[in-house]
């Protein structure tokens, strides 16, 4: 232990012998660390927001469909369980929230225009806790019961259709026999969403009303379940899977929205690659610094060896030197990142590229998120890789022949 303390003190002093070199290297490491964390915070913030927005249009963490539904979301591919059976199976199972929906492609027509939408027949009460959007923040009113006769459209869609609360629209789809199924609805409410695409794509009606219109009795297109955390849906998934047989397909939300699912998985990969790339760019300088530090004190190293210091000590001392350099640099970088990210956490307005961000599925305010796990990961990865990179110069330094080293000019 005592030896270790001495080695540390030695390493620290060596570090400041050539303070200019150390300061240049420290700045490089600090900038690198800052960039790692800052960039990750921005990206992490964007992805988090995308997932929150994205889940809000599924919504549900685990879903049950007919096996063919995801590929062919037609009225013919319905869940092979009636409403009564669903209640019996899931009603008492203690889910944080669950509901069933009719979800089919449809066309909405006003006296002026027609547009394609996803028709959602929902049970508003059952879904309230995990709603698509805040059901209270609706112009007019939201649906009140499964047999509500009204329709709620997005504000943007209503604009295009030139309709408004109180006017009538026609929804048109197909029934299981491919007969046209249509019905007039009074627009009772207009909802607002983070993204235009959401406002344009959905029409909400009561579940019973939708079932009547589509002539599908009491069957539904999907059953959804929510758990406590969208990042970890396995417990819910397993619970649901245990309650059904293979006449239906149970999916996690990441499988339904593959873009977001991929995005979430990709985020960690991106983070790691970015950290490694920066480290590699730094590593050349780090190794260079160590090589120089060893080179300019070959004679001292020779002397120490001649006086009986073990090669392992030399090796250890140089590695400690490298670790200290990295640790101080990382610390400065971490602090710098924290200082720059904190003031931005209220959100960065990037509405200048709002429509572009919408293509990514992101909204126009970016909330950087300073995630402590990301910071730890970046620091640990750099320390480990830094350790590996310093092995070679340190090893070479410890292998000098004392006599040769001392006499070296």
């Amino acid at each position: 232990m005592h030896v270790f303390v001495v080695l540390c003190r030695l390493a620290w002093r060596y570090l400041w012998r050539n303070h200019r070199r150390t300061i240049v290297m420290l700045s490089a490491i600090a900038i690198g660390a800052w960039a790692m964390i800052f960039m990750t915070a921005l990206t992490r913030g964007m992805v988090d927001q995308m997932i929150v927005d994205g889940i809000s249009v599924i919504p549900g963490h685990v879903l049950i469909h007919d096996p063919d539904y995801l590929d062919d979301p037609s009225v013919n591919n319905r869940v092979a369980l009636s409403d009564a059976e669903l209640d019996e199976r899931f009603g008492g199972a203690g889910f944080a929230g669950w509901s069933s929906r009719v979800r089919v492609p449809a066309i909405v027509t006003s006296e002026r225009e027609s547009r394609g939408v996803t028709l959602l027949g929902i049970d508003p009460e059952a879904e309230r806790s995990f709603a698509f959007f805040d059901y209270d923040d609706v112009d007019g009113r939201f649906l009140e019961a499964p047999d509500d006769k009204g329709v709620v459209l997005g504000a943007k869609l209503a604009d295009t259709l030139e309709t408004r609360v109180g006017k009538r629209v026609v929804l048109m789809s197909q029934d299981p026999d491919n007969e046209i199924a249509d019905r007039g609805f009074r627009v009772v409410g207009l909802f607002h969403a983070e993204m235009d695409a959401t406002e344009e794509s959905f029409a909400f009606v009561g579940k019973r009303t939708a079932q009547d219109m589509l002539r599908i009795g009491d069957s539904v297109s999907e059953v959804v379940f929510v758990g406590d955390d969208y990042r970890d849906v396995e417990p819910v998934y397993e619970k649901v899977a245990a309650l059904v047989d293979d006449s239906v397909r149970v999916s996690r939300w990441t499988e339904v929205d593959t873009y977001l699912g991929t995005m979430m998985g990709m985020m960690d990969g991106f983070m790691l690659i970015w950290v490694i790339v920066i480290f590699l760019a730094l590593s050349f300088g780090l190794v260079n610094t160590l090589v120089m530090a060893v080179f300019e004190r070959i004679r001292e190293i020779g002397l120490m060896l001649a006086l009986g210091m073990k090669p392992a000590m030399i090796l250890g001392q140089i590695i400690i030197e490298s670790m200290m350099l990295l640790a101080v640099g990382l610390l400065i970088g971490d602090v710098l990142a924290w200082v720059t990210i904190k003031p931005l956490e209220g959100g960065i307005d990037i509405s200048i590229v709002a429509e572009g961000m919408e293509m990514f599925g992101a909204s126009s305010t970016l909330y950087p998120s300073f995630d402590i796990d990301d910071v730890i990961l970046a620091n640990v990865v750099v320390m480990i890789l830094g350790f590996l990179a310093s092995l070679s110069p340190a090893w070479r330094a410890s292998r000098y022949e004392p006599v040769e080293a001392i006499t070296k000019v």
């Binding site: 062919d72 492609p105 225009e113 790339v277 260079n288 572009g356």
Partner: protein
């Protein structure tokens, strides 16, 4: 060889390991830069091409307001004569008239809402990719035939093939009910799900009949020889439109605002990353050159007392840096181009890429191509930063006092 050059060259290799490590840092960053920039701009090109050549062209003539609302009645009257007029006025073939309507397409088994384009069979191939993507059957050939070409996914979802009938339902330009039965004559496959699932093309003449267009359409699509010439063409189109017409010309960036912004957003985050890489390399160089100046203090003292001006020594240091930077630039550009070329042949993809890029109308595998610009843009910037990094060590020489310098060992 000039004596200064020879001196600089020899100084460079005094510590060959250090020099190679510094060059290594440059080459590493350069390879990354060349590859990333080639990939990035290749993808932007594809994004623009795929989006513009399927949907919007480089510019469109439309009725005012149509761009934002896409309402049926915001028409371009007598659209074919207008397109013909523009073709002769501008002496260009890459101009075609289109109509667009939303409708419900029903086969014997299924119904889906789709976007239906009415196109001129003779001219559409000049402005759109779709006619060239026909996988089965043939493209449209007669402007009045009640025929339609649809995407592969739509054909699969509707469960129909060549020769089958498709019923279209929608609303006409005056809001009246429009219906027709058309024959599927061709199926196209673009590889992008959204396109293959949601779009169909039929002859403009038949389209006008079905939707009561009375000779009108919604857009005249124009394609410039390349994107760079789009602005010039747009100005010519504006003058070619008669003065009393209230039609407007929109460029691609107005028609697809998301596309340009997505590129901008992506570019700014990419340039942030490139900037960090370049700065890290610059620090590496700064460190090396500072060391190389400091360790020669004694030697510099001697030559200065012999009458050498500090400015000349400074130029020597800059020359050394330039040599090192030049080697780094050439090696980096070559290695980067080679690395990129490997992907030009084999294609670049990663797990999940298909889901990630589908929003941008990109295929799941791209083939980046290293051009002269993409191979040298990054390395050149690195070279310039390398030179800038050597300024401080070079200027330090002016502060050197010959006698004191000679005393340092």
């Amino acid at each position: 060889m000039n004596i200064v050059l020879r001196l600089a060259w020899r100084n460079l290799w005094r510590h060959s390991r250090r020099t190679w490590l510094t060059i290594g840092a440059m080459v590493f960053s350069n390879v990354l830069l060349v590859f990333m920039i080639s990939l990035q701009f290749g993808m932007y090109g594809l994004m623009i091409d795929n989006t513009l050549k399927v949907f919007s062209g480089h510019m469109q003539v439309q009725a005012p307001g149509y761009k934002d609302d896409q309402k049926m009645r915001q028409v371009v009257p007598d659209v074919q004569p207008l397109a013909a007029h523009l073709r002769s006025e501008l002496a260009s073939d890459t101009i075609a008239a289109r109509g667009w309507a939303f409708g419900l397409a029903s086969s014997a088994e299924r119904s889906y809402g789709i976007g239906i384009y009415g196109v001129e069979p003779d001219f559409e191939p000049q402005v759109s990719n779709i006619p060239g993507l026909i996988e089965e059957g043939r493209y449209l050939d007669d402007t009045n035939a009640t025929e339609i070409v649809i995407g592969t996914m739509l054909a699969r979802n509707l469960r129909i093939g060549i020769g089958d009938e498709l019923t279209l339902l929608g609303s006409g330009v005056d809001g009246s009910f429009a219906a027709a039965v058309v024959n599927v004559v061709g199926i196209f496959g673009s590889g992008v799900k959204e396109i293959d699932r949601n779009i169909a093309q039929m002859p403009l003449g038949a389209f006008q009949d079905i939707f009561y267009m009375n000779g009108a359409g919604h857009q005249v699509v124009l394609l410039a020889p390349d994107l760079g010439q789009a602005d010039i063409l747009q100005a010519r189109v504006e003058t070619a439109l008669s003065d009393d017409s209230d039609l407007v010309v929109h460029g691609w960036d107005e028609l697809q605002p998301g596309l340009k912004q997505a590129i901008q957003a992506d570019m700014s985050s990419a340039f942030f990353m490139y900037g960090i890489l370049v700065i890290l390399v610059a620090f590496s160089v700064l460190n090396t050159q500072l060391m190389s100046v400091l360790e020669r203090t004694h030697e510099f003292g001697i030559v200065m007392s012999l009458g050498l001006k500090p400015g000349r020594l400074g130029r020597l240091v800059m020359l050394e840096t330039a040599m090192m930077g030049f080697i780094g630039m050439i090696l980096g550009a070559l290695a980067g181009a080679l690395f990129t070329t490997w992907f030009t042949v084999n294609g670049f993809t990663y797990p999940g890429m298909e889901e990630m890029v589908a929003n941008f109308n990109l295929p799941g595998r791209v083939y980046p191509r290293a051009t002269l610009v993409s191979s040298f843009a990054g390395p050149l910037v690195v070279f310039l930063f390398t030179l800038a990094a050597a300024v401080y060590p070079a200027l330090r020489l002016h502060r050197l006092h010959p006698v004191e310098a000679m005393r340092t060992t």
